[in-house]
Every structure is written in structure tokens, then in C-alpha cells.
Amino acid sequence: MNKSILKAVVILLLLSGLLAIPRYVESPYALHMMILLFLSVMMGQSWNILGGYAGQHSVGHAAYFGVGAYTTMMLMHTKQIAPWIGVWAGMALVIVVALAIGSICFRLRGPYFVLASIAVAEILRLSAINLTTLTNGAEGILATELPAFKIGGTIVTDFLTKVPFYYIGLFLVVLTIGITYLVQHSKLGYFFQAIREDQDAAHSLGISISFYKNIALVISAVLTSLAGSFYGIYVGFVDPPTVLGLDVSVQIMLICIIGGMGTLWGPVLGSLVLVPLSEALRSNMITEGLVKIGLVNADSKIGLFLKENLSHAHVLLYGILVVVVILFMPDGLMGFIKQMATRRKQEAV
């Protein structure tokens, strides 16, 4: 009892802190980092529902991310439909796509499911490149001018600063985590986990496997498409590799694996590790840091080489992280922390 009250208090404090940040922090860069963090948590958490809880490891989530991003952007660019209306169209379309994919892929298990999910995402990516009249092909869609958001004639925000994006992102993160919490603590969540642990046993207990797998997929896909739409609107640009590429699918999955699959806070933890690290590499902070400590001379050959190249290779870090996590903490950071905690408890006894 006390523990759950404590938990609620901590979460409320955290939330009010996050709500207050834009009042005190004016640096657009800091807000940008927070928005990236929100986006990452959303992506990871959406995958978590299907991959972590229901145990269906899709490596094709870029499909839903891309469909959401593209639908919203296309409607805004060609039909001047405001993104907060376009988002709904994106989600509706994603439900159709997800059910189509589900009906194909859920007949397959294990590695075959993984391969099929990749194939579907690749078909969508290649279609986006080839359907030039609809998607503008490889050039992508650029639409940076957002209409002002009005309620009853008064302008709520005109999207000129990063603050509105910050609050939208925060809202979406709370929504995604909330939905995951509800799923985890409902009958639905237990069904998902039963399917994950033993499909055949779950089936023999009367759980309709393909029905619940599809439910998990739809929830996961809709939330992923929401993240995709938010990404599109925030960045103002989508093209096939950045929203539909295999890299996107892998990245979505990584957030969860590194944090810990099938746990509520795993994707948050994963994002807290991944986002700052990759940003530090991208913006050359690590090279500058090495120079400052005096490990590397800025004008030496190595220094110049690092400055030139390290920023391009932030994906290298992803690779190393995955290998380390899989080999040494296969249950992710959350699993690792729990393990440490139980070990400490045992030692105390």
C-alpha cells in the first residue's frame, strides 16, 4: 500500500516537473532533445505492446510509423488538411494495414514471422519510392508550414516555437505509457503474456490466439502511427528511408531491447540511454570531450579523423550496444537492475 502511494507521488512529481520545464528552459536545443526523447519512448513503448507483452517480435514496425507519417504529411501537403485531423486518417489507415499484415504474418511463427514482417515493410518502402504521383517518390514530402491551432476562433498556438511540440510529445508519451499500463493490468495483458510464454498452452486454455495477436498488433500499430505522424509534423519532412527504412524498425526494437522488453519502464530507460548517446555522437560532443580531457589532440591526425567521421557513425554505437546487451544482459537494463536488486536482497538476508 505504502509502496504504491510512494510510486504515485514520484510519478506525479516527475510529471509536474516535466510540465514545468518549458517555463524555465528556453534553449530550443534542450527542448528539441526532450522532444526526441518523447518520440523515442513512444516508439519503443508501442513496439513493447506487441513485441514485449505478446511476444511477436516484429522487425517491420517502420511500416506503421511510415504510414502514419506519410498519411498526415500527404494530407497536409496536397489537401491542406490540418495535421490534427490527418492524424486520425493515418490511424484509420494503419488499422487496415495492420489487420492485412496480421492476417498474413500471424500464420507464421518465430523466424518466419520476423522475415514476413520485414518483407511487408520493405514492400511499403519500395511502393513509397515508386508511387511518385502520390508520395513524391524518393524526394519525399517537405511541409514545414503548420496552420495555427484554433479553438472557437481563438488561436491556441501557432507552432512557431518548440513549446507546443514539447507539450504534444509529453501528452502522447503519457498516453502511450498509460495505455501500456492499462493493457498490462487487464485481462488482455494476461492473454498477451500467456501467448508469449506458450502459444500452444494458451490455445488449449481457450485463448483465441490469432484474435488477441491482432488486437495487440492494432494497439501497437496505432500508437506507432501516432508517433510517426508526430515525427512528420515536427520535422516537417518525410522520405522513404527515414520513416519506412529497415533502420527505423531496428531502432524501434532496440529501444525496447536495451531497456527491457515486456516492462512498463523499459522503453523509457532505453530511450534515456539511446537518445543522449546518439545525439552526443551526432553532434561531435564525444570528440570534443576527448579533446578537452586531453586524450586526443584536436589537430593531430586522430583528432581530425574523429571529428570528421565519428558524427556519421552514430549507428556504430547502436551496433555495439546491441551486441553488449544481448551477450551480457539479455533481459535489458530493467532485467539487469532487477537482478542486481534481488542479489542485494539475498546478500542482506
Binding site: N130, L254, H312, V315, L316
Partner: protein
């Protein structure tokens, strides 16, 4: 008719290289039940190796296969011993992620060293072709690479069927535990299988380097193609992978001619999904219970 023959022949020729890639993947899967998502990246390493040997030592890519093959074998053996071996009994998704991670490390390390610029390896015969008659011509580098592929495949069949080690590898693929009980060193067989798989992928990379752009991200396309080929042929079946490779080569070149080159990969993936749905065991695979 000439167009049809032309695309059929170039399909078969490129299919030979695809077969090599597919055989490598299917060997690894057969022996270890691990799907190697780094397969295309290993091929990419083979391409760069060939490129280095060509620019620094001036050795022709088709000759340098003799150097690339053993080097890539060692590389693959190293990957198996240090990384893959530790996850043989882990969950399937962890194995997949590990190989994805290894692939990312390979492509990004290569990018750090060579930058992401496209490299072209130009030989005297890169754009040469031979007239066969009836308006059909055959690209010389593709023809040579097909012949080398055929030779390597034949040697591989002989190795797997006739030698003791080959038989031990096949036994391990059939039933790992039973093979171990029969006194086969399954760990060694795994290293050899991964080494062979990598060597085949690396060789395929060497063989296509005179006709393809060389860049760090080239592997992704080939990883996906390798999956399609092996699933089409039946996971773990070497004969299936050979057939699958040729079939995919023909499908690609036919759909490039009769549909459009932009959509040819989509046709391949749709075919892949159809196979997964209606005959998941593949052309040559035994149905699983």
C-alpha cells in the same frame, strides 16, 4: 523473343551469384538454427576486401577470390567463436538482434574507414559483352562470375557429400544432439559452417564487385535477398538455395523487363510472402511437424 531470352540468360547468370549467397545463409541456418542478419554485411566486407586487393596489389577480382575465400572463412569462424556461439541456446529474437548488431558494426566500421562514398572497381572487361547470336548478348564479367560460382557450388556439393567433415556438418544440421552423441565435435562443425557461409557470401561479394557499386550499406539488400532465396528453397536445404537463387535471379530480371525496374524488388517480396503463406517449408524443405 530476343528480349525474353536476353532477360532469361542474365537472370540465370545473376542467379548463380544469388545462389552462392543463399547457400551460405542456408548452411548457417541448417547447422545452427540461427538466421544470420549480418549475411549481406559479410558480403559487403568481401566486396571491400576485393576492392583493397585490387587497388593496392592490382590483383584481378576474379583471381583474388583465392585470397578472399580463406580470409572470409577465418572471419566467419571468428564471428561464430566469439559471438554467435554464446547465443546458440538463447531466444530466437536475441540471436536475430545479435546478428543485426554485428551487421551494424561491420557496415559502420567500414563507413568510418572508407566513408560512405560509392566506389567503383573498373576492370578492362567491366562493360564488355559477348554476342551469342539472335540479338542476345552476355555480359563478360557476369559470365565469368557465373562460371566461378558453378565451380564453387560443385566443389561445395562434393565437400558436403563425400568428405568426412562434410558429412559431419550435414549430420549436425540434421540432429545436433544425435550428432554429438555419435562423437561429432558439433562446436567445430558450427565454426566450419559459419566460416563456410561467410566465405561464400564474401566470394559472392568479390564476384559482383566489378559490376556493382561498392558502398558500406550495400549489404542490406543482399541480406533480404538471401532470406527470400533460402525460404523459397527451404531453410537449410543447399539444393533448394541453389534453385532459389536462380529462380530469384530470373524473377528479378523478368520483372525488370516486363514490369519496371523500380518494382522488381516488390515482385520478389510478394513472391516471398506467397511462399511463406502457402508453402512455408519451401521448394525442397521437408515439412516440419
Amino acid at each position: 523473343m530476343a528480349v525474353f531470352m536476353q532477360s532469361l540468360i542474365s537472370g540465370i547468370l545473376i542467379g548463380g551469384v544469388y545462389a552462392l549467397i543463399g547457400i551460405g545463409l542456408t548452411l548457417i541456418f541448417g547447422v545452427m538454427r540461427v538466421i544470420n542478419f549480418a549475411h549481406g554485411d559479410i558480403l559487403m566486407v568481401g566486396m571491400y576486401l576485393t576492392y583493397i586487393i585490387f587497388t593496392m596489389l592490382g590483383i584481378d577480382p576474379f583471381v583474388s577470390v583465392l585470397i578472399t575465400f580463406p580470409l572470409m572463412f577465418l572471419f566467419g569462424g571468428f564471428l561464430q567463436k566469439v559471438f554467435i556461439n554464446r547465443v546458440l541456446n538463447a531466444l530466437a529474437q536475441n540471436q536475430i538482434l545479435l546478428t543485426i548488431g554485428l551487421g551494424l558494426i561491420m557496415s559502420n566500421t567500414v563507413m568510418l574507414i572508407f566513408t560512405s562514398d560509392y566506389k567503383i572497381l573498373t576492370t578492362s572487361y567491366s562493360s564488355a559483352s559477348i554476342q551469342v547470336g539472335g540479338g542476345v548478348s552476355v555480359s563478360t564479367p557476369l559470365l565469368i562470375s557465373f562460371l566461378i560460382t558453378a565451380a564453387i557450388t560443385a566443389a561445395l556439393y562434393w565437400f558436403l557429400l563425400k568428405t568426412d567433415t562434410g558429412q559431419a556438418i550435414r549430420a549436425t544440421a540434421q540432429d545436433r544432439d544425435a550428432a554429438q552423441l555419435m562423437g561429432i565435435n558439433v562446436k567445430r562443425m558450427s565454426i566450419i559452417a559459419f566460416g563456410l557461409g561467410s566465405a561464400l557470401a564474401g566470394t559472392a561479394g568479390a564476384l559482383i564487385s566489378p559490376t556493382y557499386y561498392i558502398f558500406p550499406q550495400v549489404g542490406g539488400v543482399f541480406t533480404l535477398k538471401a532470406f527470400v532465396i533460402t525460404v523459397l528453397g527451404g531453410m537449410g536445404s543447399v539444393v533448394g538455395a541453389t534453385l532459389g537463387g536462380i529462380l530469384i535471379g530470373i524473377t528479378e530480371s523478368m520483372s525488370a523487363v516486363y514490369i519496371s525496374s523500380g518494382w522488381k524488388d516488390v515482385v520478389v517480396f510478394v513472391l516471398f510472402l506467397l511462399v511463406l503463406l502457402f508453402k512455408p517449408s519451401g521448394l525442397m524443405g521437408k515439412s516440419r511437424t
